[in-house]
Amino acid sequence: MDKNIVLETQDLTKRYDGNMVVDHLNLHVAENEVFGLLGPNGAGKTTTILMLLGLTEPASGSARVFGFNSTREPLKVKRLTGYLPERLGFYDGLTARQNLRFIAWLNNMADDEAEKQIDQVLEEVGLTEKADTAVGKFSRGMKQRLGVADVLVKKPRLAILDEPTAGLDPEGINQVLDLIANLPKMGTTVVMCSHRLYEVQRICHSIAILAGGKLVVEGALDELGREALAEGRYRIEVETAELSPQLVEIIGKIKGVNKVEAEGNFLHVTTDSDLRAAISKVVVDNGVALTQMKVQEFSLDDIYKKYFKEG
């Protein structure tokens, strides 16, 4: 693999009272991507995260983050990693700024650097005006955004976010998602858990689906999508002004095209690779106006359903 793997687990296993919570899990997260961890409640997502951070010891197997063993060198892992817990809490009596300052201190940040960083992250999450308000007066959504700020204040190279958009209104969700989607550009890899598939689809590059502590599938999102939708092939939708049987035939002869179905003015072309350029050329060369063409979108629902039907 050419990408830099920053997080990997090898046969990571955890039992609680004899129940397998995480069962021989092998995950790989590449640097500077947004990685989505999906699965039903109780699939072992949070437990996996706790083991990644060295907060819980695995029964067997190991997790490595930036090459550090999470169980043996948790401090080195935690220095580079920010974690947003699912049930996050703040000291209600302290202001937003004081809460963040405490975290900055725990990370041994110098005072002036910490203040600068706090101002910056508060602005990023849109809480600058509330910086000196006690957190006890915050709404659920504001606390959630402060939680994101709390992760970013230590300038992590890996951010692990457990349900980062829980409790937010639609606008807040968009803000937070944009923020998360921008992190890889700033050199922060993101691992995020979520139940909202469209969110994951919007910002994640790769996903892993867990069920019952086992890995169901792991991979790049677009590949998995194509697999779920058309057994790994592309489905291209072509709309033309008028459709002639000859055109269907000609398109069917393009190399790499498997199947062409006509439906009104629409053509559904199944191909081995993205042949949009070749198809549009053929259409235009035949004197037919091309109205629109797109690779058919899959939705994460399709992926999710596919694997849970099989599982």
Partner: protein, 293 residues
């Protein structure tokens, strides 16, 4: 760890809880002073110690300051410790702190030390307030020996308070529910304060020796004895003496060194109890697993 101590101290000093405790402490000081004001004229000062009587003199109806301290210090210790750990869990701040690059034990060490510092400040405030006002009231300055005796008394109060705080922290680690953890600490305090020495020990002990051994398992008794030996130099020994022996006692105060010798076992046992509480808390906390949900 210094960061955690800093934060805990800031937390304590800005909290309503501390304000209430401070008011209690002030009221106790005032009551103790008033008791001394009422009673101090009738005190026998043949022992040569005048100043110390400020603390041990009771009024007609009001108990002395040391009695107040004996009651309030466990309450302060428990109030400072009963929610130390489980509140962090219930508000969800624990996982946030533990995911920072710090050793897990610095959390509990920091809390314990911050608690002791708060406790020490409160006790020192009380003693100094009473000393200051007392000085104005009676106009007799303390002798050097009295100052040393008071200081040792101060140290023993802090140790005693640290024991109760350690116990409360232990319960706060074991019991997740705030109210139940508070209740458990108070139950232990009530048990030792009332039932143990008044009911259980007299019923169980067959001999005087057995009685003394059993009664000294109670931290309350240890503290009372330490107080008595330090602040009542006339008392030449602790525990029970046969009436025949009493008649041979010379009614003059023990020198400081001898007083110390008497309370040394009490002090070390109290330190031991506090250390045990802390050690058990430490071990349980370090082994406690952070779980999902």
């Amino acid at each position: 760890m210094i960061t955690i101590i800093r934060k805990e101290l800031a937390d304590y000093f800005t909290s309503l809880r501390c304000l209430i405790l401070f008011i209690l402490v002030l009221l106790a000081s005032a009551a103790g002073l008033y008791a001394a004001y009422e009673g101090i004229r009738g005190v026998d000062i043949s022992s040569g110690f005048v100043f110390i009587n400020l603390f041990i003199t009771s009024g007609e109806t009001i108990p002395s300051l040391v009695t107040f301290i004996g009651i309030f210090v466990p309450i302060i210790g428990i109030a400072l410790g009963f929610d130390a750990i489980n509140r962090e869990y219930s508000t969800g701040t624990m996982s946030r702190i533990l995911s920072q690059p710090i050793y897990r034990d610095s959390v509990i060490n920091g809390k314990f030390l911050a608690g002791i510092i708060t406790l020490a400040i409160m006790v020192a405030t009380t003693l100094l307030l009473v000393s200051g006002f007392g000085l104005r009231m009676i106009g007799v300055p303390p002798s050097a020996e009295e100052i040393i005796r008071l200081f040792i008394y101060f140290v023993s109060i802090v140790i005693y308070g640290a024991f109760w705080m350690g116990l409360a922290i232990l319960f706060s680690i074991i019991i997740r529910n705030l109210a139940i953890s508070l209740l458990a600490s108070l139950a232990v305090w009530l048990f030792f304060g009332f039932f143990y020495t008044m009911l259980i020990v007299p019923a169980v002990a067959k001999t005087v020796d057995a009685y003394l051994v059993l009664v000294r398992l109670s931290p309350n008794t240890l503290f009372d004895e330490a107080t008595m030996a330090m602040l009542l130099p006339q008392s030449r020994g602790l525990g029970l003496l046969a009436s025949g022996e009493v008649s041979y006692m010379i009614p003059n105060p023990l020198p400081l060194g001898q007083s110390l010798l008497i309370v040394w076992p009490q002090l070390t046992t109290m330190i031991g109890l506090a250390v045990v509480c802390f050690a058990v808390s430490y071990i349980v906390f370090m082994r406690q697993e952070i779980r999902a949900t």
